[in-house]
């Protein structure tokens, strides 16, 4: 087991406060903590490694630029950067979808994805399994409403259309789904 360099694991929140002071080394450590989740999330939504790399790079640079504006009272550093990453990925996938590129890319991506998925399963298998276990406990409509929006980048109107449900029902399923997920994933009570 190779020890991580120079005490990498000082926590992300605290690292981000150091980064806010212009600390390059702290940013390097922070990169080690957040780059995997950022890249993985963006790739999951975009389903394209090259585009994901581009968007992840934008997000990580934005993390550096905006670090002085980080307010720890409003949430964790990880939550902050992942929210930003998700927003960027979703904006990108929607404009691509609007341009009709998505279906084509989905069709073309087959071999690269097969390889990547192996690595992904080793790297993120633990958390993934845990989240999957909890997703399985949602009702089908809750699960579909949450994952179509979060992982596929569909708006709740599009989700309603795809599932043939009224808008109000989809909003409720999203809310109940997330709340049940929280309960299942557990942890320290806020």
């Amino acid at each position: 087991m190779r020890p991580r360099r120079g005490g990498t694991a000082v926590q992300a929140d605290q690292l981000l406060l150091l980064v806010a002071g212009g600390d390059h080394r702290a940013f390097e450590e922070l990169y080690g903590l957040v780059a995997g989740p950022v890249f993985g999330l963006v790739r999951r939504v975009l389903r394209d490694a090259a585009q994901a790399e581009e968007v992840a790079q934008e997000v990580l640079l934005e993390l550096w630029r905006s670090a002085p504006k980080f307010d720890p009272d409003r949430g964790s550093a990880l939550s902050w950067v992942l929210t930003l990453a998700h927003r960027r990925a979703v904006d990108r996938v929607r404009s691509a979808r609007a341009a009709g590129e998505r279906e084509q890319r989905d069709y073309l991506r087959s071999s690269a994805t097969a390889f990547d998925q192996v690595a992904e399963e080793v790297e993120a298998g633990l958390e993934r399994e845990w989240v999957r276990r909890c997703l399985d406990r949602l009702t089908t409509l809750q699960r579909q409403s949450v994952t179509l929006a979060y992982y596929e980048g569909y708006t709740y109107r599009e989700v309603a259309e795809r599932l043939s449900l009224p808008l109000g029902t989809v909003k409720t399923r999203m809310r109940d789904g997330l709340t049940r997920l929280r309960h299942c994933l557990g942890g320290v009570v806020a």
């Binding site: 087991m1 000082v10 926590q11 150091l18 490694a49 633990l126 993934r128 557990g186 320290v188």
Partner: protein, 271 residues
Amino acid sequence: MSVLGRLFGREGLHSLAAPYALDALEGAERLRFERHLERCERCAAEVRALSEDAVRLACSAATPPPPALRDRVLTAIRTTPQERPAGEPARVRTGQLPPHVWGIQPPPRPRERRVPLFVPFATATAAAALVVAGLFAVQAHRTQDELAAAQARQREIAHVLAAPDARATAGRDAQGRTIGVVASASAGRAVVTLSGYAEPPGGRVRQLWLMRPGAQPRSLGLFEGDTPLVASGLTRSATSLAVTVEPDGGSPRPTTQPIVQLALNSVGFGE
């Protein structure tokens, strides 16, 4: 939306908190809801909580990025200026914290409120994210042999995670070092990750203990580097986990003050 929005008024906007947290609003609607958020304390709090839930979905998708990305980003920040909030001068937050380790030496700040040994994380997401960061970090930079060992351990870990009552908790000390635990009371098992704790000098080791009321601490094993420790045989009466630094090979009983201690009541123990 405009007609419906007028019909439902505020309630209509409130119900957009979950779609907003999932980024499932269209551009114009998103802006309208964000304006509403500035005035609606209740919505803002709900969005914060729901966003933390959504982040859990993000963490489960973690994938190592290509190494070239790291080089590009780290090179770029050297020439990229940071944006400061309006009116705030640039200031360096050094993060210098008292060098004491609690339990060994009292904090050298007599007039301040007593610093708790252990600060629980504010939200479930922060706790879980920490556990994940620990698990994730371990997976990087492996040789084939290490990978095989990691996969064997991963099966054990998966066993704990698959328990119906598996719960996570985590905490950090004043120096930002953290401990994360995923435990199942029914299976009597837990996965424990430490981060930020340097290897003890002189061949010493970090040993994990189960603390029970009215009983001696029981050893749950030794940590190796950043590798998560899978502990079994946890009794429901257990109140906390503690880590001490011990001579090579570990000790039958703790011989030093804990470097970190974590209560287990939020994960179903301490009955």
